[in-house]
């Protein structure tokens, strides 16, 4: 049997969409025993897709399948008394409880932090909410779009824009959720280690807005020196960055003088690049616009992957703007075994994105595909919580499970 780095850690996750489930996945793929609790209708991410053939099927949503690997899944109606009782049993069993409902959701069910501590004094309760559990916006709603803008990241994108009337924009996908999930997992992990010495539980209050601001912290603090706010339209023509090739975009980072010298040599030092003045960073910063159209013309004649390797091989920081297809075919990832094959009984077999950490002794692993809705009900109720099979059947008939 698979024994990962987090062998012996018990997690109950009652969370929707991305932030809480991704946090749970990070634990589960390291071998923690993660029980995912879903309401009878299932985690809403089951209904979000993308789906194969674009046909809705709660067992085939890519968003659900990716974020819920290696977990056991049960359904439970905690709005019913017996459901809530069963849920409390789970909370007594677990080390960590991951929740990303609005702050008052469990409070209204009598599961505020004080009650949770009485239930399980060593419990590590991870609460992920849009704006946190305290403060004037504690009960305000927020999700991917509002939070990326509330946290300041959205206002800076598109980065290197040229027109202020072109609106700020969010990241693609569910970046608020994923980043929040990582911050939550890291904190919970530290508390698991702390508990080994102190025996103490804690509540972690993760505000997704704060997670987003954290990404910008060094830039935000830079206001100390320039007393200015930031802007997605740069104050002077940028020297480098995103460029268009004949078949896509590339990010060119010839930032240091020796990088730019290498680039001039690669381009072949045409007249407009002949002067050694271009190897001076300050000169470039103030004059780049003079040659930018020519640089862009040159780049538009190159092929993305081809010029990427040519530039990288002379020691200049560079990278292609990869599509999903490019990422799946990326040789570097294949050589490193980044993708992992997961065979799901309904959705089928696909390679999934793996983990950025290659561990020599305790490798992460997808120990089972994402659970079908209620797949482990009987196993968890009878073997983990000690219900008799008669009791289990009765709860099932009463539609608690």
């Amino acid at each position: 049997m698979f024994k990962g780095a987090l062998d012996g850690v018990k997690v109950v996750e009652y969370a929707a969409m991305v932030s809480g489930p991704y946090c749970g996945k990070l634990f589960a793929d390291f071998g923690a025993d993660v029980i995912k609790v879903e309401p009878p209708a299932g985690d809403p991410s089951r209904h979000c897709g993308p789906f194969p053939d674009e046909e809705k099927d709660p067992e085939k949503s890519a968003l659900f399948l990716y974020n819920n690997t290696s977990k056991r899944g049960i359904t439970l109606d905690i709005t019913k008394d017996e459901g809530l009782e069963a849920f409390k049993k789970l909370l007594r069993w677990t080390d960590i409880f991951i929740d990303n409902h609005p702050g008052d959701y469990f409070e209204m069910l009598g599961l505020d932090w004080e009650s949770l501590q009485k239930l399980n004094p060593g419990l590590i309760y991870v609460s992920i909410t849009p704006y946190g559990r305290t403060g004037p916006r504690a009960h305000v709603k927020g999700d991917e779009l509002t939070l990326i803008h509330a946290g300041g990241e959205g206002n800076l994108m598109p980065v290197r824009s040229y027109d202020l009337s072109f609106s700020p924009v969010k990241f693609g996908g569910y970046q608020v959720g994923y980043h929040g999930g990582v911050a939550a997992a890291l904190t919970a992990m530290a508390l698991v280690l702390g508990k080994k010495r102190t025996g103490r539980g804690h509540m972690v209050d993760i505000a997704l807005q704060e997670v987003i601001v954290t990404l910008l912290a060094p830039i935000l603090h830079g206001m100390k020196y320039n007393d200015n706010s930031w802007c997605r339209v740069p104050d002077r023509p940028p020297a480098m960055g995103r460029m268009e090739t004949s078949d896509g975009y590339i990010i060119l980072g010839a930032a240091d003088d020796h990088h730019f010298r290498a680039l001039r040599e690669l381009i072949g030092k045409p007249d407009w690049l002949a002067s050694d003045m271009w190897d001076d960073m300050v000169w470039r910063a103030n004059h780049m616009m003079d040659i930018a159209p020519k640089m862009e013309d040159w780049m538009r004649q190159q092929k993305k992957q081809d010029i990427y390797h040519k530039i990288a091989k002379v020691g200049i920081p560079v990278g292609p703007v990869n599509t999903a297809e490019d990422v799946m075919n990326y040789e570097q990832y294949q050589a490193r075994g980044y993708f992992v094959e997961v065979d799901h009984p309904v959705a089928g077999k696909y390679p999934y994105a793996g983990w950025p950490y290659k561990m020599s002794a305790s490798k992460p692993q997808v120990s089972r595909p994402a659970p079908l809705l209620g797949q482990h009900n009987e196993e968890v109720f009878c073997r983990v919580l000690g219900y008799s099979s008669d009791e289990f059947k009765r709860l099932k008939n009463a539609q608690v499970i």
Binding site: D53, G173, G194, Y249, I251, D326, Q332, Y333
Partner: protein, 409 residues
């Protein structure tokens, strides 16, 4: 408050610079680990001296070594020892420190630590259960291991950039370092998992962290969606595949924008109530989510006309009160001015010996009954005495000798 921080007793030795490494160990320090940063006093972390973009004329681009803002943001609560690592004696001292550390971490080029004789294979001979983490752009293996990059490049290779931006325009990466912060937090998580494994089994290990991969793991569903449908996922601007209205709307004033998300019919009814256009909730074009999504352009035009004439913050207040998810697209000044963040003590007061009082964001977590530290980033060589004499037991004469040889400052 008498308290034990969760990571007390764990010692981390770092050979990190810029963003992705330093923030990983800073969060460990915030949670109680003792983090010792090793720098050459003639070869410091680049961020010690640099001003963050935008660079204004009156601001010198090179600062004294304790005053770079990014450095002070990403290295708080750590200790700093200076050692000249181009000198074998400097390396020998670094190895002695590794022998009394739990985790050794670097974010230099993949071969840098190995060349200095401090790769995992070397260090495990000194301390069998050591955990060594090396965080690099492409990772330690594969054909591109020696390629160079930084955060925006990793985000682009990883696939996130292509998905971000307006649909009819160019893709956009995020700001200069946000991929580094993501990778730093993920690295710290992996480090702690390795500590857990060591408690369980007594075993240390090597962690080869790839920062491009870190950016791909956060678009897992997009890749799977591509494989399921054979369609390459494209940019959607601020919009959502199913919800409407779900967009950014221009408000009165210069570059002021309102972000608005509607997830249910009830929220839509609340929105049009605030707009004083309750009839829209019954309009067949907008009566349910499917219709709203179908007629999204018309709906966005109606909302945009309303927002263009009104104050952003007034609308945010009214909409949030009515139960609608709304937020301003905040710039830096808006962030500092946010009373909610202030009420949550998100801006820690940091007393810095050279810069005075700084207001810097704390890490994004609050933990019940724990007061997390908010110390300043270490001055260059601030802890030489503590580290070399306190931990390694060097005598005053040995210290003087090291200083004479320019191995320490």
């Amino acid at each position: 408050m008498s308290q034990t921080l969760p990571l007390e007793g764990i010692r981390v030795l770092e050979f990190c610079w810029v963003w992705a490494g330093p923030y990983a160990t800073m969060v460990l320090a915030n949670l109680g680990a003792e983090v010792i940063k090793v720098e050459g006093h003639r070869r410091t972390d680049l961020m010690r001296r640099s001003v963050i973009w935008p660079r204004y004329e009156p601001v010198p681009t090179m600062l004294p070594p304790n005053q770079g803002i990014a450095f002070n943001t990403l290295n708080r609560d750590k200790k700093c020892v200076t050692l000249d690592l181009s000198n074998p004696e400097g390396i020998a001292l670094a190895k002695k420190l590794a022998a009394v550390s739990d985790i050794v971490i670097d974010n230099m080029r993949p071969d840098a630590m190995i060349k200095m004789g401090m790769g995992y294979e070397d260090l495990r001979k000194i301390k069998e259960d050591i955990i060594v983490i090396s965080s690099s752009g492409r990772g330690h293996t594969g054909p591109e291991t020696n390629y160079l990059g930084f955060a925006t490049i990793h985000q682009s290779i990883g696939g996130l950039t292509y998905l971000s931006g307006h649909p009819d325009d160019h893709p956009t990466h995020g700001t200069g370092g946000d991929a580094d912060i993501l990778n730093a937090m993920t690295t710290a998580f992996a480090a702690l998992a390795a500590i857990h494994h060591r408690i369980n089994t007594g075993e240390g290990q090597f962690i080869d962290y790839g920062q491009c991969e870190g950016c791909t793991s956060v678009i897992g569903e997009q890749l799977l969606g591509y494989l399921m449908t054979s369609k390459i996922p494209e940019r959607m601007g601020n919009r959502h595949p199913e919800y409407a209205p779900y967009n950014l709307y221009q408000c009165w004033g210069v570059d002021r924008w309102l972000a608005l998300e509607v997830h249910t019919d009830e929220e839509f009814a609340a929105l049009v109530q605030v707009m004083e256009k309750p009839e829209l909730a019954k309009d067949p074009r907008f009566v349910d989510m499917v219709s709203r999504k179908k007629n999204e352009n018309e709906l966005d035009a109606i909302i945009g006309e309303w927002t263009r004439q009104r104050d952003r913050d007034w609308m945010v207040g009214e909409l949030c009160k009515a139960g609608v998810a709304a937020a301003p697209s905040r710039d830096g000044k808006d962030i500092y001015a946010d009373r909610h963040l202030q009420a949550r003590e998100f801006f820690a007061k940091i007393d810095h010996p050279e810069l005075g009082e700084l207001r810097m964001v704390r890490p994004p977590w609050k933990i019940s009954d724990l007061e997390l530290p908010s110390g300043h980033a270490p001055l260059l060589g601030e802890h030489n005495q503590y580290v070399l004499q306190g931990i390694l037991g060097l005598s005053d004469e040995e210290m003087a000798d090291l200083r004479k040889k320019d191995i320490i400052m």
